[in-house]
Amino acid sequence: METDAVILGGGIAGLQSAYRLSKLGMRSVIVEKAPFLGGHTARFACKATDRCRLCGACALEDVLRKTRSADSVKPFVRTAVQRVDDENGRFALTLLRKPPRIIPEKCGQCGECEKVCPVDGALARSPLNNELYIDEDKCLFFKDASCRACMEVCPDAAVNLEEEPDTLELNASAMIVATGFKPFDPELKPRFGYGLVPGVVSALEMDAMLRSDTWFPGEGDAEARSAAFIQCVGSRDPKIGRNYCSRVCCGYAVRMARLMKHRFPSLRPTMFYMDIQNFERAFDKSLEEAAEEVRLIRSIPAEVRKGEDGRPELIYHGPGDERVIESFDLVILSIGITPASPEISTDLGVTKDGFCGTDGENVTTRKRGVFVAGTVQAPRSIEETIAHAVAAAGKAASYVKEMKNGGSL
């Protein structure tokens, strides 16, 4: 198969690059590992309260719609890159494409398979359209072929465990790496109690619950519930090699806190931070508004531990220079954006902060014909990712044109 540009990653950066390439009259192939497009954004909840709060999550639906309507974009999901050969500034790729394990045309959405699956998360639903899929990293069949429970119970014969992946040869003139970021693993900062103290969750987990509308602040007593956001977990922390600000988490946490309060007005959110980063224009006013709904405390707690009542307990340095111990019903860790280090990044260069690309260059890499788009290169908001992807698409298109006109440079 021939294409102008191959795009690794079908998140918002990859999709936007593909769409803009199509507008420039270029063909592209998107290679996405997951069974659905959208990347992290597909799991973000809309943060609108009584009005849009500018989180940007809905931009995904917009760009998905546009990409789907562009004939020149070919997305391959459940597909991985097996091999890349650089042939004089052009790329020859071998792709490994897995078949759908639950065939959507046959699946009647009865949910019987979900009832019998012994592994948590092995059978999951796409956040985009609710379709069932199998996570092969978790499913026992793909580990040691020890379980076929879903296949046996399915009344529609929609489960397809045994079909082998096929390979696909692809030639492309340019490559855009848009493989995104890895969320910081909060277990690396045990003092915040993740995995140790009940009631401590990561912001991404909270977001997924808000998206699926499965979070409630608790039943019963009329007493208001409290939630604490802890910022900079895995950011601005040179001791663990994170000597950068993840840029998006202040806005993300404030929006999330306001959404929770909008849904449950008696909730009392608190945000513990170092320095609030701007997330809107006219930020003075935004911050004032946010402070009406969210208690802002400039202090990063020293420790989160399990209190005597079972709730998480935060120990922090209070504004009056005193040691404060305060209990919350829920603690949400604003985990940072960390490099995802795609397999092919060895040749592309590494920035000072460990991301893929070259310091001082926005979209070009050390390797001719390979461009980076989105959070694979540095932490970015959704809006900034979209802008960056346009820049990558523009550069890639110029490169493709050059290759077509002159062959190798």
Partner: protein
């Protein structure tokens, strides 16, 4: 705004030239505007460049208009008329695109801190000039030099300003016997490399005081400016009389945006910038087709993002020349000249500035995004927007939808194509069994007669679902929809019908739960009404 829009109607040439102009008007002032002009020139776009003094060297295809200002902009993408003034008088230049890439206006915060601009007190820009020119007072190092920076102590600042503060400290630090202090509230490190540079500055000796309150009190005397403050970490009372007090700057949009704002629809949302703060306007796009905003003119000051903007604006122009048709776009609205009475309603209400008048209303097809608001608002029903090929018009869709289903409790849902119609795809089918979806391009086109028609044809309830306020791609489509649904609710009430059988539901493409929930609620209401009798 309105007055000027109306004024330009009669000045605007309605007839569109056969060939769209590829010439670009670039409003610049620093290296960014120049860079953009050069990129265009290399890619074959002729450029008219404003914002640089006479004698500036420019490359082929760039025409420099020195000491010239843009007074007014008229027309549409591919055929703008730029009215320019310079010492020789006024002239009109035809251009196809306009790019606003002027540098930001920097306003020192002397007044915010109630500091006089005097010896020993300078703005960040003034310090930068001093550093650039190797000013003696900074380089003469007999004694220690104490430099105090104020950053974001009055009003939240920007990463772009913090980057300049750090650059100044780095520059000063190259000499010996310098002590820099930064008085701040919130550091702004959310840009490339800033956290690392901040820590490096601290390690190499710069002292940062972070306050929760307004910070130091200033008193000026003959010796200089005395700063008295409580050191925030240890709580100690401290004094400092710096040799130089450096005041940070507020970053404002370029002053020369005014004539562009006057031609930009939705300027009431975007002012003082050219781009509304909305998810619907990404990158360098503005509400005026063919006009692009780079960096400060759209409220962005981060140099790395501005670099993306430069690439994006070049890409946008190449796209418009590539001319790949948008297959999702239906035909342009058609004006029935016999019905049009030139009332100007469409002109006033078009959120995209696509309407002009000659002998009748005319729609610029390259500007129009087919939202359909003009067609609904026209009091003479002179404008019609064809549905996408193969789709029935709205009234037929309502009739067909209701006729095709029997049984009671059917709900007609008017769904905005950009939000609710996207969300519908993810709502489990069992939740929307009773739903007859009618997809509209913008919620602003859901009209009172459509809703009444749905009831007349036997719908038990009606949902109008569109984007949240602040998220409408047509600016005020949501507000129009809300107003009309409020009107229908009143009409129903007056007729003795439960007003809650129709409701407006704001939502996004990724909130299927909101749509599902609204349907369930309405079904409950319908059932309750049936029980009540």
């Amino acid at each position: 705004m309105r007055a000027s829009a109306v004024r330009s109607v009669f000045l605007t040439r309605a007839a569109r030239p056969a060939e769209a102009s590829k010439r670009v008007l670039v409003l610049g002032g620093d290296s960014i505007g120049m860079n953009i002009a050069e990129r265009f020139a290399i890619d074959g776009f002729p450029v008219l460049l404003l914002g640089y003094p006479a004698g500036t060297q420019v490359r082929d295809r760039i025409t420099l208009a020195p000491d010239t200002v843009l007074d007014e902009l008229q027309g549409f993408t591919g055929a703008f008329d730029a009215i320019l003034t310079n010492s020789a008088g006024r002239s009109v230049e035809r251009v196809g695109f306009v790019v606003a890439a002027q540098p930001e206006a920097r306003v020192p915060k002397f007044e915010d801190y109630q500091l006089p601009s005097s010896r020993g007190i300078v703005s960040l820009s003034q310090l930068e000039d001093m550093l650039q020119s190797g000013d003696e007072s900074l380089t003469r190092r007999g004694e220690w030099l104490h430099v105090a920076f104020l950053f974001g102590l009055s009003g939240e600042s920007e990463p772009a300003v913090f980057s300049r503060v750090l650059s100044a400290i780095e520059h000063l630090g190259q000499g010996e016997k310098v002590q820099s202090y930064v008085f701040t509230r919130n550091l702004k490190v959310a840009a490339d490399g800033l956290e690392r540079r901040y820590r490096d500055c601290r390690e190499s000796g710069a002292i940062f005081f972070k306050f929760d309150d307004a910070g130091p009190v200033f008193t000026s005397n003959s010796g200089g400016t005395l700063m008295v403050f409580r050191e925030p970490l240890l709580g100690l009372e401290m004094e400092l009389m710096p040799d130089l007090l450096v005041v940070d700057e507020r970053l404002n949009p370029p002053a020369s945006l005014k004539p562009l704002l006057e031609t930009t629809p939705l300027a009431y949302l975007s002012a003082p910038f050219l781009q509304p703060e909305s998810i619907r306007f990404s990158g360098v796009q503005t509400p005026k087709a063919g006009m692009f905003a780079v960096g400060p003119s759209r409220g962005v000051f981060d140099p790395a993002v501005i670099e993306d903007d430069v690439e994006a604006v070049v890409t946008a122009l190449k796209e418009s020349v590539a001319g790949v048709p948008d297959v999702t776009l239906p035909g342009s609205p058609v004006v029935d000249a016999a019905k049009c009475v030139m009332c100007l309603t469409c002109l006033r209400l078009c959120p995209h500035g696509a309407i002009t008048f000659a002998k009748t209303a005319e729609v610029d097809p390259a500007t129009c995004v087919r939202c359909g608001i003009c067609a609904v608002e026209c009091p003479m029903t002179a404008i019609s927007l064809a549905p996408p090929a193969g789709d029935p018009d709205m009234i037929s869709a309502i009739r067909q939808g209701l006729a095709a289903t029997s049984g009671q409790g059917k709900i007609v849902a008017f769904l905005c194509s950009r939000s609710a119609a996207q969300a519908l795809k993810s709502v489990p089918l069992r939740d929307v069994e009773n739903l007859i979806p009618i997809v509209v391009r913008c919620a602003g086109t859901i009209a009172v007669p459509h809703v009444l028609e749905a009831f007349q044809q036997g719908a038990a309830g009606v949902i109008a679902a569109g984007c949240f306020q602040g998220n409408c791609a047509s600016g005020y489509g949501t507000i129009l929809a809300e107003e009309r649904i409020a009107l229908v609710r009143e009409l129903l009430s007056d007729a003795g019908i439960d007003r809650d059988l129709v409701r407006f539901v704001p939502m996004a493409g990724n909130t299927p739960g909101v749509l599902g929930g609204a349907v369930r609620e309405l079904e409950d209401r319908i059932n309750k009404d049936i029980v009540k009798g």
